[in-house]
C-alpha cells in the first residue's frame, strides 16, 4: 500500500489546522455561513437533512486494517455507531457535530486519511477496480496510476475551481469493474500491438440528469504521458466548459457540444505544447510509486486446497457463498473475497462500528492487513488463502457479513435518498430493504441469475440507476414519493443507459412492479443462459410495458 511521504503528511496536517481555525471562526461569528460553506465543503463536510455529514476519502478504495479500525473508532466516538460506504468507494458519517470535525480530521490524519477532494468543483477522489493488483485477468495494477493521479490532482492550483466536479476512474483489466465509461475521464490500461501497456482514454461520460456514455478520444497513450494528457483534457475543459448553467457545466456537455473528434483534437493540440514538459513522468518516479504496491509475501501454495474443497462438499451454505462471492486471484491458492454489505433487509453500504472493527481484525488475520471498498458498496478482502476461507466465513456469518448475493438482484446499489439527503426527492433505502426481503430466497436468486438493480433518490443519480440492469429513480409528485423504472443499463464494457418502461409507480406498487418485470423475464427468456440484460437487449421494453401497464391499445386508451 501507498505510505504518505513528508509532503503528504504535511499538507494533510496543515489542512486539519486550517479547518480547525475556520470552524472556530465560524462558531465565534467571524465567518458567515456563506463564507464558511465553501470551506467546509472542501473538507467533505455537508449539511444534510437531519445533521452534518462528513464524507471521507478512501483513495481508489484501498484501506489498511489500521485505517478501518480508525473508522470504527470515529463511528463510535463521534457518530452513532455506524458509517455508510458510498458508490465512490468513500465512507460517510451521518451525525458529526461541527465542533468535533477538526478532531475527527486529526484522527484521520494519524492514519493517513482525510476528507479532501470529496466535495466541490475539483478533481474528486480517484476510483479504481476494487480487485486492483490481485485480479487474475489484470493487465497491470491500476493503483499505481490512481496514486500518481491523486498526487497530481490534490490541491492542483489550476483545477481547484473547475466549472463542476470532475471524476476520474482507472481500471487495469479488460473486465471493467470501475465503470470508466460513465466517468468524466475513464482510463483503461490496454496493450498496443508491440505489447506495451498504456491507456485508452475515455472522456465525457457521466450519469446525473444528463446521462451519457463517454467517448474514447485516445486509443493508446504511453504511460509516461499520463499526467500531461490529463492536464491537457482538464485545461480544455477548464477553459471551454460552461460556467453559466450548473446543469450544463460537466465535461460531458462540452464533449457533446464540441463533438468527440473535435474535442480530441483540442486536447491533442494542448498536449503537444506540454507533453515533454515537467509533467512527463520519469521512469524512476513511476518505479518509486510502483514499489509501494509491490505484492505482499504470498505463500507458495497449490491452487486446489483439499480442506476448502471438503468444506464446500460438507456445507452447502458455505459452498453457495464460495460460488457467489469469491473471485479468482492471480496467485495460486489465494482467493479474492467479496463481503456483501447488503444483508436481507439491511441498508446498502452501511456498516456498524462493531462490524468495522471485526473487518479490521479479520483483515489482519486473513487478508494480509488489507481491505477494499467497492463502488457497489461492498467490502473486499483481496488476499485470502483458500485454506482459510471456511474459517473466515464462519466468523463473518454471525456478523451478517456473509450474505451470498454478489451480483444478484439483492446486491442493490442505493444512495442514502430522502432518509438523509438534502437533494433527494424520494427514499431509496426502504425500497432496497423491501426488495432485498422480497428476493431473499437463494433458489430464486440463482434462477434470476446476474442482475444489477440500482436505486437513486433523485436525478443526481448517486445510486447509478441509469446503468442498473434495472434502475429505479425516486421522483416527487406533489409531495408524494414515486418511482420510475428503467431497464437495460450497464456500467461495464458493454455500457448502456437504461430505458424508461413507463409511468412511475407509487411506494406501495414499486416492489410488485419489479416482481412483474422479473417474472416477465423468467417466463420469456430463451433459457437460463440468457441473462436479464441480454433479454432486454433482445426484446426491448415492450414486454415489460405490456406486463406492467396492459396491452398497447389499452395503454393508449388510458393515456387518452
Amino acid at each position: 500500500m501507498y505510505r504518505y511521504d513528508e509532503f503528504d503528511a504535511t499538507i494533510v496536517q496543515e489542512r486539519v489546522s486550517q479547518f480547525r481555525g475556520q470552524v472556530a471562526r465560524r462558531l465565534a461569528g467571524e465567518l458567515t455561513e456563506d463564507q464558511f460553506r465553501p470551506l467546509r465543503l472542501k473538507n467533505g463536510l455537508y449539511l444534510q437533512l437531519h445533521a452534518y455529514m462528513l464524507r471521507i476519502a478512501v483513495p481508489y478504495g484501498v484501506l489498511s486494517s489500521k485505517q478501518m479500525r480508525k473508522l470504527a473508532y470515529i463511528a463510535r466516538r463521534y457518530d452513532r455507531g455506524f458509517g455508510h460506504f458510498t458508490t465512490r468507494q468513500n465512507i460517510q458519517f451521518n451525525w458529526p457535530q461541527l465542533g468535533d470535525v477538526p478532531d475527527i480530521l486529526q484522527h484521520l490524519a494519524e492514519v493517513e486519511m482525510h476528507a479532501i477532494q470529496t466535495s466541490g468543483n475539483c478533481i474528486r477522489n480517484v476510483t479504481a477496480d476494487q480487485f486492483a493488483g490481485v485480479a487474475a485477468d489484470e493487465i497491470e495494477d491500476p493503483r499505481i496510476w490512481a496514486e500518481i493521479v491523486r498526487q497530481w490532482s490534490t490541491f492542483h492550483p489550476e483545477f481547484s475551481y473547475l466549472p463542476r466536479k470532475f471524476k476520474i476512474a482507472v481500471t487495469g483489466a479488460p473486465d471493467d469493474r470501475a465503470a470508466v465509461r460513465v466517468h468524466d475521464i475513464g482510463l483503461r490500461i490496454v496493450k498496443n500491438e508491440a505489447g506495451e501497456a498504456g491507456f485508452e482514454v475515455w472522456v465525457g461520460g457521466g450519469l446525473g440528469r444528463t446521462p451519457i456514455i463517454g467517448v474514447a478520444i485516445r486509443k493508446f497513450l504511453p504511460k509516461e504521458h499520463l499526467l500531461s494528457y490529463l492536464e491537457a483534457v482538464l485545461r480544455v475543459y477548464n477553459l471551454l466548459g460552461r460556467r453559466d448553467n450548473i446543469y450544463k457545466a460537466r465535461i460531458k456537455i462540452l464533449v457533446q457540444a464540441t463533438g468527440g473528434d473535435k474535442f480530441a483534437q483540442l486536447v491533442e493540440e494542448e498536449w503537444e505544447k506540454i507533453k515533454d514538459g515537467p509533467l512527463h513522468l520519469p521512469k524512476g518516479e513511476i518505479d518509486r510509486i510502483h514499489r509501494y504496491f509491490a505484492p505482499p509475501a504470498y505463500e507458495k501454495l497449490d491452487d486446489i486446497d483439499p480442506a476448502f474443497e471438503t468444506a464446500k462438499l460438507e456445507n452447502p451454505e458455505f459452498a453457495r457463498w464460495a460460488r457467489t462471492n469469491l473471485v479468482k486471484h492471480r496467485v495460486p491458492g489465494y482467493a479474492i473475497v467479496n463481503l456483501s454489505l447488503k444483508p436481507e433487509g439491511g441498508a446498502p453500504g452501511d456498516a456498524s462500528a462493531d462490524q468495522m472493527d471485526l473487518l479490521a481484525d479479520l483483515a489482519d488475520e486473513f487478508s494480509l492487513n488489507e481491505v477494499r471498498v467497492t463502488h457497489h458498496q461492498n467490502i473486499v478482502f483481496p488476499n485470502v488463502r483458500k485454506r482459510d476461507l471456511f474459517a473466515l466465513w464462519q466468523r463473518l456469518k454471525p456478523a451478517k457479513l456473509a450474505t451470498s448475493n454478489l451480483g444478484f438482484i439483492s446486491d442493490i446499489i442505493a444512495c442514502p435518498g430522502l432518509d438523509y439527503c438534502n437533494l433527494a426527492n424520494a427514499r431509496s433505502i426502504p425500497v432496497a430493504q423491501r426488495l432485498s426481503r422480497h428476493f431473499s430466497d437463494p433458489r430464486k436468486l440463482d434462477d434470476i441469475g446476474e442482475l444489477r438493480l440500482n436505486i437513486s433518490g433523485c436525478i443526481n443519480a448517486c445510486g447509478h440507476h441509469h446503468v442498473g440492469h434495472i434502475g429505479i429513480l425516486g421522483v416527487d409528485k406533489q409531495g408524494q414519493e414515486f418511482y420510475q423504472v428503467t431497464v437495460g443499463g450497464s456500467s461495464k464494457d458493454d455500457a448502456s443507459l437504461g430505458r424508461i418502461v413507463g409511468a412511475a409507480f407509487s411506494e406501495d406498487d414499486i416492489v410488485p412492479a419489479i416482481d412483474t418485470i422479473i417474472n416477465t423475464y423468467l417466463a420469456n427468456r430463451t433459457d437460463r443462459s440468457e441473462r436479464f440484460l441480454d433479454y432486454v437487449r433482445r426484446v426491448g421494453t415492450d414486454p415489460f410495458k405490456e406486463a406492467l401497464y396492459g396491452p398497447a391499445p389499452a395503454r393508449r386508451t388510458a393515456a387518452e
Binding site: 461541527l98 441498508a347 416527487d476
Partner: protein, 103 residues
C-alpha cells in the same frame, strides 16, 4: 387559499432540525413550531428568524407548507415529514441512528 406555513432551519452546532416558535425561540419538537396561516405573518416570522442566523444559532431558515388537521399541523411534503422525525424512516439494522452519540 395559501397553505399554512412554518419556519424551520438547521442548528449551527450539530445541524439538527429546529422549528421557530411563537415565542421567537427554536425547538427540536415539530409540535412547538408556530403555524402562520397568512403570507404576511409567515414572511414576518421568516424575517424575525434571521436574528438567530446572526446570533449563530441556526443556518438557512425557510418556510414550508403544512396542512392543518384536527390532529395538528402536518408537513405536506415527504421531505419535511422526514425532517420532523429527526431520523430516517427505516428501522436501524447494523448501526443505530436512534441512539445517542457516544461519549
Amino acid at each position: 387559499m395559501a397553505a399554512s406555513q412554518m419556519v424551520t432551519a438547521n442548528r449551527l452546532s450539530d445541524g439538527a432540525v429546529v422549528y421557530f416558535t411563537s415565542g421567537k425561540d427554536w425547538s427540536e419538537d415539530f409540535a412547538d413550531g408556530a403555524v402562520w396561516t397568512d403570507k404576511e405573518s409567515a414572511d414576518g416570522a421568516l424575517a424575525a428568524s434571521e436574528e438567530a442566523v446572526k446570533a449563530r444559532l441556526v443556518i438557512g431558515p425557510y418556510l414550508f407548507d403544512v396542512a392543518v388537521t384536527d390532529a395538528g399541523p402536518r408537513p405536506t411534503s415527504a421531505r419535511e415529514r422526514i425532517r420532523a422525525d429527526h431520523k430516517p424512516t427505516f428501522e436501524p439494522d447494523q448501526g443505530s441512528w436512534a441512539g445517542p452519540i457516544a461519549e
